[in-house]
Amino acid sequence: YRDLHTFELQAPTRLIEWARGNRVCVAGYGQSDGNEILQLIPPPTLLTKETQGLCPERDFKVECGGFSERPVYSLKYVPDTSLLVTSGPPNSSLQVWQVSAEDSDVIKSVSTIATENGPGQSWAKIATISARVPWVLHGSRLDRVQITEVESRKHVYTAASRGSEELSNLAFLDCNTLLLCCATGRLCLADMRQPQSLMEAMSVPSTPCSEQWCMGTRHGAQGLEPSSQPVARLSSRGLLTLTDLRKTSEFLALAKARVPSPGSSAEFLCVSWAPALEGYLAISGLDGTVHVYDTQSWDSSGREAEPIFVHKGHAFGGAGGSRDPPLVTVHTWHLQKPRTLLSAASDGSLHIWDWVQPCGKC
């Protein structure tokens, strides 16, 4: 490590979202009521370029907070607005909130975007964009994907249906293109200008045991075509596939992460690309660790990949003994500092860590 800071939240979070001004948002998911949404100002140590070691303030400050009546499973800020959208059980409707840090430190509930709640529907996955008007892309299943205008709650678009599998995540590739990833691993591309078409990418390798999948897309690096960034898919058994969206009929790469007990819970599966390091990605949710990989050496053989770095802090942090070891619920990369990540676990811990690039093999 170059640096490591550990914090303890009052309640565990399964999301870490970046907001304007380097703010970070976390939210509780455990209780049925009284879950807190917290917008935090990270310690100055994260804002400086070099690690200063002993900084005047090493703590997170709660800038504002809100109370959610339901567990918060997903949260997305709406760009160019002071709004954010959350989703969580028991159904697929969304909550819209207003963050106004100037005159009050309370995040207020503003409205609800209701959806058709049929049987077998869980919570909605969400993504936001501000094209002409702020939109939220949401849905819990492949046949229920829609786009709603955040402020007016007007329905704008419904994706063509090609099945009713549960979704893991979805994303806007640009203001016309959507990317949908199912829990089965199916990856679908939808172009809003051609409503009936839903293109599918190469399916993930099928295995006898059921496993669940999630995807990670690259945050649009400036000036690059969003569709030129490969999409990563991670399974609950540690399989990783990389797909170039311009050549969806094949895999760019296929690898296997070292997983202790395969097939464990897929609830917190998370894979993400490093915004400032070409070809690096991180995975978590398989156990109490976060792995960082350099995918540039990967091929399509599917053999086990060696991580560049493994963050084990969460696994050691717990009280130990009879309690279940904590599971990492989410991780995210710092947007500017190339090797800094934030990760959270089911025991309420929140870590910020900065790893050192290993030089050759030591």
Binding site: F7, E36, G53, R58, K61, C64, G65, F67, D105
Partner: protein, 428 residues
């Protein structure tokens, strides 16, 4: 219950709160602001004195702990403004207060030549009015008013006080800490359900970095400096966090088998040790248990400091008082070592504005000393906050323990606290 602050209650400089409960008037703490050199350092008592004599108006004064921002104005208040009623505090506080007050008086009057300040005799006379209390002991101030002290952690002897008149009660926390550290336990209170809980809220909106990380970084910096032959100055107040850091360094030196000397200001080492031994029941479980085999405060690697040592070549670590580099020995040593970039000064706590400590932490590297001399600061300046205050989680824990009907937050920043307010309201 009526409450008001006879000092800048929003300022992290001094604490002094007046509470009126069922016709009884109690003053909570009587602190001094270290950043001012004039009358602004003392609370403004005219608010109360306009009602008549203080002794007639106030039923008692309660002091939570020996930090000067909580007791520093006490002699001024009792001897210069005039108060002859009872002053309550715990036994360790009563023992240690006069030492810190005298120390501060010496620096302010002798070194700085101030005149409008209390004298040594005044400190003695003031302490004669003090009634020491034990933890969990109900003290009858008069027929109707009773008080009870609870363990607060934070520093040796710090207490939270419950003030009761009939069926109305107030709990004042002073400064407290809900997590134990190396030499003190955690604060605790029973489900006393006061009408009002007055809690400090310095870190109410903070999620604190783990102690382990802070300690690790602190030790790393000290070690690195000493390894390259530099000197480390750690300005501290005699009692308080200094003991915590001493235990930390001693343990580290032992583990790493380090040879560089560690020194602690003369005079106060013995006294500090003496008090910690005397009040061993106020320390934490671990210290009490190991005390039989080994006195945690008798350090193998930490020796008494002599002024002459500052000129010795080679690496060393020195704990010197006072804490904000505003005067005395720590400032003297700082001036000697500031010009060498191999050296380091680590400020272990908050520095009030106006002090040299505050200036260098703000980035100033050219300081004007007395006689218009300019001091160039080439040594490394670091800050490590080891102060033991409750954070948001700790405040909620205390509220859950006490179950108050109302909560008043003091000693923090004057920011909007709507979210915390709602959070507390949600608890009940």
């Amino acid at each position: 219950v009526l409450c008001c602050r006879a000092g800048a209650g929003q300022d992290v400089g001094r604490s002094c709160i007046l509470v009126s409960i069922a016709g009884k008037n109690v003053m909570l703490d009587c602190g001094m602001h270290m950043g001012y050199n004039d009358d602004r350092r003392f609370p403004d008592f005219s608010y109360i004195t306009q009602n008549g004599r203080l002794t007639d108006f106030l039923d008692c004064v309660i002091i939570s702990h020996f930090h000067l921002d909580h007791c520093g104005a006490l002699p001024y208040f009792s001897e210069m403004v005039g108060y002859d009623g009872p002053i309550y505090m715990t036994h360790p506080t009563k023992a240690i207060c006069p030492i810190l007050l005298e120390d501060y008086r010496k620096i302010t009057v002798d070194k700085k030549g101030e005149t409008n300040f209390f004298t040594s005799q005044m400190i003695k006379d003031c302490m004669k009015k003090v009634v020491a209390v034990h933890l969990h002991q109900t003290v009858q101030v008069d027929e109707e008013l009773e008080i009870k002290a609870y363990y607060a952690g934070h520093v040796l002897g710090a207490a939270m006080f419950q003030i009761k008149v009939g069926c109305e009660s107030v709990v004042y926390t002073g400064d407290y800490n809900m997590t134990p550290d190396r030499h003190l336990g955690a604060a605790w209170i029973d489900k006393c359900r006061p009408d009002l809980l007055i809690s400090e809220s310095t870190y109410a909106t903070t999620i604190r970095d783990s102690k382990r990380c802070r300690e690790r970084d602190f030790l790393k910096k000290v070690h690195e400096t000493v390894e390259r032959g530099g000197k480390v100055l750690i300005p501290v107040f005699a009692l308080g966090r200094a003991q915590e850091l001493c235990i930390l360094l001693e343990t580290f030196w032992e583990r790493m088998n380090l040879k560089a000397p560690i020194y602690f200001s003369t005079g106060l080492t013995e006294k500090a040790n003496h008090y910690y031994k005397l009040f061993i029941t106020w320390t934490n479980q671990k210290i009490r248990k190991t005390f039989v085999q080994r006195n945690m405060f008798e350090f193998k690697h930490i020796k008494a400091f002599d002024r002459a040592f500052a000129d010795n070549p080679g690496p060393m670590v020195v704990f010197a008082t006072p804490g904000m580099l505003h005067a005395g020995q720590s400032l003297q040593i700082f001036r000697k070592w500031a010009g060498n970039e191999k050296n380091m000064v680590i400020m272990p706590g908050y520095c009030v504005q106006g002090t040299v400590g505050h200036k260098i932490l703000s980035g100033q590297r050219k300081l004007e000393m007395e006689g218009r001399q300019i001091l160039e600061v080439k040594m490394q300046v670091e800050y490590m906050s080891f102060s033991a205050h409750a954070d948001a989680k700790g405040i909620m824990q205390l509220i859950r323990q006490a179950e108050p009907r109302n909560v008043l937050l003091v000693h923090g920043e004057a920011k909007k606290m709507e979210f915390l307010k709602q959070k507390i309201e949600q608890e009940f």
